[in-house]
C-alpha cells in the first residue's frame, strides 16, 4: 500500500544555485499527484529530494524535513533503504542494456542479495503484469535484451523494474515525454491502475496529462511552489494569477 508524503520547509541548492525555496506540501497516499511548471522551475529537483537521488550530485545540498509515511528520510534512514521504498522512473527509458528482460525486472532484488528463484519468477511475472508488459514479452523473457524493446515498452519495463522491489511510492520524472502518443496513453492508463497500490508523484510538462491522471496538482515556478490544489481547481479556477497565466499558455 502507498503512504503519504509530508514535506516541510524544503530548500535545495546546487552549488550556490538556490533551486528549491521553502516547499511545504502533503502528498496524499494512494493518489496520483502531478507537478507542473516551466523548465528549470525545480520540479525534477523536488522529486529527487523525495528519494535522496539528488545526493548522487556532489554539489547538491538540502535542508528541511521529508516524511514518507512515518519515516523521516533525512534523519532516520540511509539513501539505499529509502530508494527501495520510493521507486523512480526516469524521463528517458533506461533499461540495463546488457541484461535480459527478466534480469532487468529482477535486478533490484538480485543486486540486493535476494536469491529465491521461484519467488523471483513470481515477482517478475507480477511486476510485468502490473506494468502491462507481460503479454508482449512473456515468450522472450530471458531471450531478449531490455534494449531490444521499443521505447514505450522499455519505459514500461523500467516501471516493472521499479515495482519489483515493492515500493510504497513511485516517482515519475516526465515518464512519457520521450514517447509517442500511443505509448503515452498506455503509461497513463497504467498510472491510473497503479495508484490503488502506490502513491504516485508524476512530473510532467504536459498539462493535459496532469489533468488526465492526477487528483492533485502542484504548480512550481522559479524554485517555489505557487499553488497546490485539487487538479480540477487548478485547471478551472486557480487562485494564483501566475498559475492561471501558465495554464492558459501566457508563458512557459
Amino acid at each position: 500500500m502507498g503512504v503519504g508524503i509530508e514535506v516541510q520547509n524544503l530548500n535545495a541548492w546546487y552549488g550556490n544555485n538556490h533551486t528549491l525555496q521553502d516547499i511545504n506540501l502533503n502528498i496524499p497516499a494512494n493518489h496520483a499527484t502531478a507537478l507542473i511548471g516551466p523548465s528549470g522551475c525545480g520540479k525534477s529537483t523536488f522529486v529527487r529530494c523525495l528519494n535522496r537521488m539528488h545526493e548522487t550530485n556532489p554539489i547538491a545540498r538540502v535542508t528541511g524535513v521529508v516524511r514518507i509515511g512515518e519515516l523521516d528520510i533525512y534523519s532516520d534512514a540511509k539513501p539505499v533503504e529509502i530508494r527501495r521504498r520510493v521507486g523512480m522512473v526516469f524521463q528517458r527509458p533506461n533499461p540495463f542494456p546488457t541484461m535480459s528482460i527478466y534480469d532487468n525486472v529482477a535486478a533490484g532484488l538480485k543486486l540486493n542479495g535476494y536469491a529465491n528463484k521461484r519467488s523471483l519468477d513470481e515477482i517478475v511475472e507480477r511486476s510485468l503484469k502490473n506494468s502491462a508488459l507481460w503479454e508482449e514479452v512473456k515468450d522472450d523473457l530471458k531471450k531478449k535484451s531490455g534494449a531490444s524493446l521499443s521505447g514505450g515498452q522499455q519505459q514500461r519495463l523500467c516501471i516493472a523494474r521499479a515495482l519489483a522491489v515493492d515500493p510504497e511510492v513511485l516517482l515519475m520524472d516526465e515518464p512519457a515525454s520521450a514517447l509517442d502518443p500511443v505509448s503515452t496513453s498506455k503509461i497513463e492508463d497504467l498510472i491510473f491502475q497503479l495508484k490503488s497500490q502506490y502513491t504516485i508523484v508524476i512530473v510532467t510538462h504536459n498539462m493535459q496529462q496532469a489533468a488526465r491522471v492526477a487528483e492533485k496538482t502542484g504548480f512550481f515556478l522559479n524554485g517555489r511552489m505557487v499553488e497546490f490544489e485539487s487538479t480540477h481547481k487548478i485547471f478551472t479556477n486557480p487562485s494564483d494569477k501566475r498559475t492561471e497565466d501558465y495554464i492558459t499558455g501566457r508563458f512557459g
Partner: protein
C-alpha cells in the same frame, strides 16, 4: 538559380562524392595492406618449416637439423597467463578507481598521469627495471628472486599490461550512460554494487577489448624478457627457472648463422601470430556467448 548552374552544381557534388569515397577506400586498403602483407610473407617463409616436430620437440643443439619450439610455445603460454593474472586485475581495478570512485580527485589525476607515462616506457627499460627489482635481489621477500626466472618475465609483461588495461577500462566506464547508473541507484542498490554489477558489466565488451589489446601487445615482446625470463633450450615449466618464449627464440634463431634456425625462426613468427589471433578470437567467442543477441 538557372538550370545550367543547377546541373553544374549537381555534377560537382557527384564528383566530390566519388572522390571522397575513393579516398576512404584507398585509406582502408593502406591500413589493411601491411597486416595482409606480413601474414602472407610469414606464410610463404614459415609454413614450409612447420611440421609436427615443431610443436612437439625442443630445439636441437647447433649443427643438428630439425627440432622444434614446443618449449617456447608452452613458455610463452605460461608467461602470458602469469602476465594476465598480474596485469588484468590490477589494470581493471585501477580503471574502476579512476572512472568511479576517485573521479576528479588528486590521487586519480596522479594515477592517470602515471599510467600514461608507464605506457610510454620503452619495453627494454621495463626489462631492466624488473631485473633490478626481482632478478638481481639476492635476499628479498619477493618470490623466485635472485636469478633469471619465468616469474620475473611474467612480472615484466604484467606491468606492461597495466596501463593499457587501466586506461581503456576507465574510458569504457565513462562511456556508460549516466542514466544506467541512476537506474541502479534508484532501485536502492548501493553504489559499490551498482559499479561492479551494472556499470562494469555494461562496459565489459570494451574492457575485454582493452585486455586483449594489452595481451596481444605483450605476447610479442622480446626486450623485457631478455633480462628476466632469459630463454631456455630445454623443457621447463617451473616459475623458478629461466623459461623459453617464442619471441626470444625467434630473436636468437634469426640472429644465428644457421639456415635451419632461420627457417625455424620464420615458422616461429608465423606460429606466434596465429596463436595471438586464436587466443583473442577464443576470448571474444567465450565472452560474447553470454551477451544477448539484439543488444545495442
Amino acid at each position: 538559380m538557372s538550370t545550367g548552374q543547377f546541373q553544374l552544381r549537381s555534377r560537382l557534388r557527384g564528383a566530390t562524392d566519388v572522390a571522397v569515397t575513393t579516398l576512404a577506400i584507398l585509406a582502408t586498403v593502406v591500413v589493411v595492406t601491411p597486416l595482409v602483407a606480413i601474414f602472407a610473407y610469414l606464410l610463404v617463409k614459415g609454413a614450409a618449416s612447420l611440421n609436427v616436430d615443431f610443436f612437439t620437440h625442443v630445439p636441437k643443439p647447433p649443427g643438428e637439423l630439425g627440432g622444434g619450439m614446443a618449449n617456447a610455445i608452452l613458455g610463452s603460454g605460461i608467461l602470458l597467463v602469469l602476465a594476465s593474472a598480474i596485469g588484468i586485475p590490477i589494470g581493471i581495478g585501477g580503471g574502476i578507481f579512476l572512472a568511479e570512485f576517485g573521479r576528479g580527485s588528486k590521487l586519480a589525476n596522479a594515477v592517470r598521469f602515471t599510467a600514461d607515462v608507464l605506457n610510454g616506457v620503452p619495453s627494454i627499460v621495463m626489462g631492466v627495471a624488473v631485473y633490478g627489482l626481482v632478478v638481481s635481489q639476492q635476499h628479498s621477500f619477493i618470490p623466485f628472486s635472485g636469478h633469471f626466472s619465468a616469474f620475473s618475465g611474467g612480472v615484466a609483461l604484467g606491468i606492461m599490461m597495466i596501463p593499457t588495461v587501466c586506461r581503456t577500462t576507465e574510458e569504457m566506464l565513462l562511456m556508460v550512460p549516466h542514466a544506467v547508473r541512476e537506474a541502479a541507484l534508484g532501485l536502492g542498490v548501493p553504489n559499490w554494487r551498482s559499479v561492479l554489477s551494472i556499470t562494469v558489466r555494461t562496459a565489459s565488451p570494451g574492457i575485454i577489448t582493452g585486455c586483449m589489446l594489452a595481451f596481444a601487445r605483450v605476447a610479442g615482446e622480446t626486450a623485457p624478457l631478455i633480462f628476466t625470463a632469459l630463454g631456455n633450450q630445454f623443457w621447463s615449466t617451473s616459475l623458478n627457472e629461466p623459461i623459453a618464449a617464442l619471441p626470444l627464440q625467434i630473436w636468437v634463431y634469426a640472429l644465428s648463422p644457421y639456415d635451419d634456425w632461420h627457417r625455424l625462426a620464420w615458422a616461429g613468427a608465423l606460429v606466434l601470430i596465429v596463436l595471438i589471433v586464436l587466443a583473442v578470437s577464443l576470448v571474444r567467442f567465450v565472452t560474447s556467448r553470454g551477451v544477448l543477441k539484439g543488444t545495442s
